[in-house]
């Protein structure tokens, strides 16, 4: 058996779920996430000799992130909504993507609402949040995946959480539903 593939199966394949979860949240599309992850795994496999064992996960997710960006550029050219477009104007984009107040008032599925809010977060904020809350990654690891300083990771996380808190928790607590606390 090929040495590199054994190592890849043991060290990279265990992170396939993490790769898919990140791509799915970034693209908001299962089909696109599947395509991206398959492409990313193949790229990772080709470049696998260059990575040390304990750094495989951040390295792999960085590749997934890059593939998502490439996908977004292609989608923009094809005239679809791209994942990076809200970054420049985050708050406005976030608000515009919220469910309308009437739907919220009739209490549309609570979980679905939160998912849509996360999906509406500016993409860099969303990525930091996914890596922290879903993958339990440290600030240093998130910085590695996203290629920014740790201070930037911290402020993105803070912004993502503040946006979610304002849009979701405050509304739930202010409304007729019993609180989440």
């Amino acid at each position: 058996m090929d040495e590199r593939r054994l190592r890849f199966e043991a060290q990279a394949l265990p992170h396939l779920d993490a790769a898919l979860n990140l791509a799915r949240w970034l693209t908001r599309s299962r089909a696109d996430a599947d395509d991206i992850v398959q492409d990313a795994m193949l790229r990772a496999y080709r470049a696998f000799d260059s990575v040390r064992g304990n750094e495989v996960k951040p390295w792999l997710l960085a590749i997934v992130r890059n593939c998502c960006f490439t996908w977004a550029k292609g989608a923009r050219r094809r005239g679809h909504v791209a994942l990076g477009e809200e970054v420049a104007n985050d708050d406005a984009a976030f608000r515009s993507a919220e469910p309308d107040p009437e739907a919220a008032a009739i209490g549309a599925d609570e979980g679905g609402k939160l998912v849509r809010l996360v999906e509406a977060l500016p993409e860099e904020f969303r990525m930091a949040l996914i890596l922290r809350e879903w993958e339990d990654m440290s600030y240093r690891q998130i910085a590695e995946v996203t290629g920014v300083p740790i201070g930037t990771v911290m402020s993105r996380l803070a912004r993502a959480r503040a946006l979610l808190k304002t849009a979701w928790i405050d509304r739930v607590e202010g409304g007729t539903r019993h609180g989440v606390r």
Binding site: L42, L157, K165, I169
Partner: protein, 260 residues
């Protein structure tokens, strides 16, 4: 508007501060209502995400297409056949036919050469991973320990103590029979936040290190009576230790006479 300690509060919440810095920001939070509220908001947000936002997982179709792409990249037809045979076993736990026999031979060679610890660790992480990949996490789905424990009696060589710790954040979701080091093991499956923790129990006195890390998975091992235990998860060691303490505590209290 925001207190300039806000990012430190978040760092405390995320477990990024050392003891000195933690103590300092905790003192600040006593005096600063804004930071105190922020910490609670962070906890509420995390709880809401854990409750409502899914962890999307790769399905069988994606796993197959990734496997095919890797095999194609590696090239050789022989390798392709072996790869499918092995990945099939990897996913379903079923070994059949000539490919299975070849695999078994290769496996024996590997186990003979590997030291005990290493082989056990590989078995445990392999079984953990297989359980997540194959939709074969549980054989008996239940949060009721009264149904899980008897199930083990008929399906595994051992019948370890089973308890639900949902109130402490470790929800019992079921049980499974698996193989560790060639022996039938009972696996008690817990969900902790977004993470699955597989607790393996088998008859043995192997000297596993208390804590082991392999490929991003953590293993916490211990012994109780004549059983060896190993809790495996991708969550952090202190979280796994928490479950271990509950299980050990439950067993000790379970040895006392029942209280009415």
């Amino acid at each position: 508007m925001a207190c300039d300690k806000a990012l430190s509060v978040q760092a405390l919440f995320d477990g990024e501060l050392d003891a000195t810095a933690s103590a300092e920001i905790e003192r600040h939070m006593v005096a600063c209502a804004e930071c105190d509220a922020l910490f609670k908001d962070l906890a509420s947000t995390r709880a809401a995400l854990r409750e409502h936002a899914p962890y999307y997982r790769a399905d069988a179709a994606l796993r197959s297409s990734v496997a095919r792409a890797l095999a194609k990249e590696t090239g050789s037809r022989d390798a392709l056949g072996a790869f499918f045979a092995r990945t099939r076993q990897f996913w379903s736990g079923a070994i059949s036919g000539a490919a299975g026999a070849g695999l078994a031979a290769a496996f024996v060679m590997f186990t003979v050469m590997a030291p005990v610890d290493d082989r056990l660790v590989a078995d445990l992480t392999g079984a953990h991973l297989r359980s997540l990949m194959a939709d074969h996490l549980i054989d008996v789905a239940s949060s009721d320990h009264h149904t899980v424990k008897p199930w083990f009696a008929g399906h595994a060589d051992v019948s370890p103590p089973v308890a639900d710790f949902a109130a402490e954040g470790y929800a019992l979701i079921g049980g499974r029979a698996d193989y560790i080091d060639g022996r039938r093991a009972a696996v008690i499956v817990y969900r902790h936040g977004k993470h699955v923790i597989n607790v393996f129990a088998w008859a043995g006195r192997e000297a596993l290190a208390n804590e082991t890390e392999r490929n991003g998975y953590h293993i916490v091992a211990w012994h109780m009576d004549d059983l060896a235990f190993a809790a495996v998860s991708d969550t952090a060691v202190p979280e796994i230790e928490g479950l271990k303490r509950l299980i050990v505590g439950e067993t000790q209290s379970g040895n006392k006479p029942p209280t009415p």
